[in-house]
Symmetry: C2
Subunit: 418 residues, 2 copies
C-alpha cells in the first residue's frame, strides 16, 4: 500500500521533470502570457472554484475542523480576485532567468555564469488553497516545474485551481504537465515526496512549525525552511518611549498570526519603570495578554508569570512575553538563544548600540527603530514572495523569484586543454 503511494508520487514527479525543460527554456513573454491567462481563467471560473471550495468547507465542518482553520480554507470572490491579481503582479516582475555575468580567462576560455531555473520545485502546504495559485505562478515565472502537495482539507479547491493553471499553460503553448498536484493527501504521500532525490531539486514546506520540522527531519532532498518567527523587540536605555510604544503595538497587534509579528519584548532596566505601564495600558486596550518575568511583575504585579517555555514560543496570538534585561548584551544573548533567526528590532538613538545590535544579532532581518512587520517580499520591494527563509543556506529572508533559480557555468573554448 505504502509502496503504491510512493509509485504514484514518483510518477507525478517524473512527469514534472520530463516537462521541466520546455518551461525552463520558455521566453519571458510566453511565461507572462500563461500567467495573465491564468488570472483571467480564475476570474472566469470564480463560481466553479467557490463550488469546489464549498465542498471542502462542508467536509471540514463535518470533520470538526476549527474556525481559524476554516477561515484559512475559505475562498471568497475577493480572495479569488486577489489570486488573479497576484498572478498578474508576478507577470510584471523581472525574470531572473538568464541574468548573470561573464569574463574571459587568460587561456581564452569565455565563462558565463547565468541564472537558470532549479528544475522541479516541491511544495508541501496546509489547508490554504491560495498557496496553490501563488506558488504555481511563482514557479511558472521562474521557469520551474512544480509538484504541489496541499492539505487534505483543501483538495477540491486545489484541484479546481490547478486545472486552471494547467489550462493556462496549455493555451500558452507550454506543457500542462509541468504543474502536478498530488491528489493523495495521506501522510505517506508527503513522506514519499521528501524522498524524491534526483527528481525534486528543492522542497519548500509552507505551513506551521510541525510541518516544517517534519520536512527538515525527514527530507532527503534539499529543503528551504520558511516561516518560523519568534521575533523580538528590544527597548534600549535611551529609547524614545513613544516611538517604542508605537512599534510595540504595531509589531504585536497589527496581525498577530503572521511570522513577522513580535512575540517577546525585552526592556532595558533603565526605562522599565516608565515604559512597562505604558505598554500594559496599550496591550490591555487591544485585549493582549502579557506574560512577564519576575522583574516585569515587580512593576506590573497582575500580569501572568512567564516561564522558560514562553521565551521559546511563537504565540501567533494576542499574547506577549515581556522581560526586563540589564544590558544590551543580555538582550542579544536572549535573542540569539530563543529567536528563530527571522526578524529582530532595537529601539534606540545610540549609534554604537544600534550597530552592535545589527551586527551581533543573528537573524535574517535586523531592524533599528522600525517594526518587525516589514519583513515581507512586498515591503522590501521584491514583489511576490515564496516565503521568508530562516535558514542561511541559499536564501535568507523574503524569497523572491531569484531564490527559485540556481547558477550554471557556460564555458566556451576552441580546443583548450589543461
Amino acid at each position: 500500500m505504502e509502496n503504491a503511494v510512493f509509485n504514484e508520487v514518483y510518477d507525478l514527479c517524473m512527469r514534472a521533470k520530463a516537462n521541466s525543460a520546455t518551461l525552463a527554456r520558455a521566453r519571458t513573454e510566453v511565461k507572462n502570457q500563461a500567467l495573465c491567462t491564468f488570472a483571467q481563467l480564475l476570474r472566469d471560473n470564480t463560481a466553479a472554484i467557490l463550488a469546489a471550495n464549498e465542498k471542502d468547507l462542508a467536509n471540514a465542518k463535518e470533520n470538526g475542523v476549527k474556525d481559524t482553520m476554516l477561515d484559512r480554507l475559505r475562498l471568497t470572490e475577493a480572495r479569488i480576485e486577489g489570486m488573479a491579481k497576484g498572478a498578474e503582479d508576478i507577470a510584471r516582475l523581472d525574470d531572473p532567468v538568464g541574468k548573470g555575468d561573464c569574463w574571459t580567462r587568460p587561456n581564452g576560455l569565455s565563462i558565463r555564469r547565468v541564472r537558470v531555473p532549479m528544475g522541479v520545485v516541491g511544495v508541501i502546504f496546509e489547508a490554504r488553497p491560495n498557496v496553490a495559485a501563488d506558488v504555481a505562478a511563482l514557479c511558472i515565472k521562474s521557469g520551474n516545474a512544480v509538484v504541489l502537495r496541499g492539505g487534505k482539507e483543501a483538495i477540491q479547491s486545489n484541484r479546481a485551481i490547478v486545472a486552471l493553471v494547467r489550462r493556462a499553460l496549455a493555451e500558452s503553448g507550454l506543457a500542462a504537465e509541468a504543474v502536478q498536484l498530488i491528489e493523495n493527501t495521506t501522510r505517506a504521500s508527503s513522506e514519499a515526496l521528501m524522498q524524491m532525490r534526483g527528481l525534486i531539486d528543492v522542497l519548500v514546506p509552507r505551513g506551521g512549525k510541525g510541518l516544517i520540522r517534519a520536512v527538515v527531519d525527514n527530507a532527503r532532498v534539499p529543503v528551504i525552511e520558511t516561516g518560523a518567527g519568534n521575533c523580538h523587540l528590544y527597548i534600549h536605555a535611551d529609547a524614545d518611549l513613544s516611538m517604542a510604544l508605537d512599534i510595540a503595538v504595531n509589531a504585536k497587534i497589527s496581525r498577530p498570526s503572521v511570522c513577522n509579528a513580535c512575540e517577546t519584548i525585552l526592556v532595558n532596566e533603565a526605562v522599565a519603570e516608565k515604559f512597562l505601564p505604558m505598554l500594559k495600558e496599550a496591550m490591555d486596550a487591544h485585549h493582549c495578554e502579557i506574560r512577564g518575568c519576575e522583574r516585569t511583575r515587580e512593576i506590573l504585579p497582575d500580569v501572568t508569570p512567564a516561564t522558560e517555555e514562553d521565551w521559546d514560543t511563537e504565540y501567533n496570538d494576542l499574547i506577549l512575553a515581556v522581560r526586563v534585561v540589564d544590558t544590551l548584551d543580555k538582550a542579544r544573548i536572549h535573542i540569539n538563544r530563543y529567536g528563530t533567526g527571522h526578524s529582530e528590532t532595537i529601539v534606540t538613538n545610540d549609534l554604537s548600540a544600534a550597530e552592535y545590535f545589527q551586527s551581533a544579532v543573528d537573524a535574517a532581518a535586523v531592524y533599528v527603530n522600525a517594526s518587525t512587520r516589514f519583513t515581507d517580499g512586498g515591503e522590501f520591494g521584491f514583489g511576490a514572495e515564496l516565503g521568508i527563509s530562516t535558514q542561511k543556506l541559499h536564501a535568507r529572508g523574503p524569497m523572491g523569484l531569484t531564490a527559485l533559480t540556481t547558477e550554471k557555468y557556460l564555458i566556451n573554448g576552441n580546443g583548450q586543454v589543461r
Copy 2:
C-alpha cells in the same frame, strides 16, 4: 557510550559557536594577519608536522591501508610548503564579508543587504591532512568558526596542523577556540556532528561517494554536496576530430583520480568509424582501458563490453566508457540520466548544437570545445576553493569564499510601522 561521544562533539560545537562572533566581526587585515602567521608557523614547524605524519603513516601501514590512500595521507616538505602558500593565497583574496547593496523604500526605510559569515562550518573529510589546513584557512578568511572531523588515519597530522592554526589565531588577537578538531574519530562522532542543529550552520563532506552519501542521508543540518563527478564528453557529427581527441586525452588522462576527469565519451554515429580507432590508439598509449557499447564494439571489436553499471560509474581510474549515439538529443538524454551534474562538454562547430547542449544539459559547468578539467576554483579565477558543489541550492560549481557566507538584511528607520 554513544551518548558520551555526542556530548563531546556537542561541547566542541558549542565552543566553536561561542567564539564565532569575534571571528565574524574581525577586520579583513586581522584575518589576513592570522593566515600569514599560520603560513609561517607551518614552515617553521615542518619537522614536527612531518614527525606527526610519520606516526600516522606507520599506524596506517600496520593497519594494512592501501598504497593510494597512503599517498593521500603522506605529507612532504613540498606539500607543507603548498599548504603555507595556500594560506597566503587565501589572504590575498577579496573578503566577501560586508559586501552588498542597499536601497531606500518609499516609506523611508533604508535597507542594506550585506554578506555575513555563515557562523559555524562543519567539515567531514578523509585521510588528507592538507584538507585541515585549506579548510581552516578558507573559514578564517570568510569569518567562520569551523569544526573539523578528519579521518582517523590522519589524526596525528591533523592535531599538529590545527594546533598551529589556533596559535596563529591567538597571536593575531582572534579566538583560538573558533577552530575545533574532533579528536574522536569513531563513526559515532561524525554521526553526532550531522545532528548539531542550531550549532552547525552548514556541513560540507569532502571525500568519496560513500562519505557524501552518508552525510546527505543522515544529516539534520544544512549540507552542501561536493565532488561526485561522472563527467561526459560528447563528440558531435561535425566535430573537429583532432580537437576532440586532444580534449578526450586531456579530460581522461591528465588526472584520472579527480572529480572533473571524464568517465564516458559519447560519439555521434556519423563520426564513430573515423574517431573510435583514433581514440583507441591514444588510450592504448596511456594504458587506459575502454569499455564500449555494442556499436562501439562493432568498430573496436576487442574492447570490453560496457554494462549499465559502467554508465553509472565514476571510475577515477584509467578506464573509459564509450557509447555511440544517433543524435545530439540521445547524448543529452544519456548525460542527464547518468551524469552527476558536475561538468559536461560537447565538441562541435555547429552553433545551434552548442547552444542546445549548453541549455539542455543539466550540470554545474557545461563546455563547448574545451576539457572538463577546467572546472576548478583556480581555473575559473576564484582562487582557492572549498570544493565543487554538485547541488543546485546555495552554491553550484567551484565554491569560493562567497559560498561560505550568507546574506543579512539591516533595516534602519525612524519609527516606521506598518
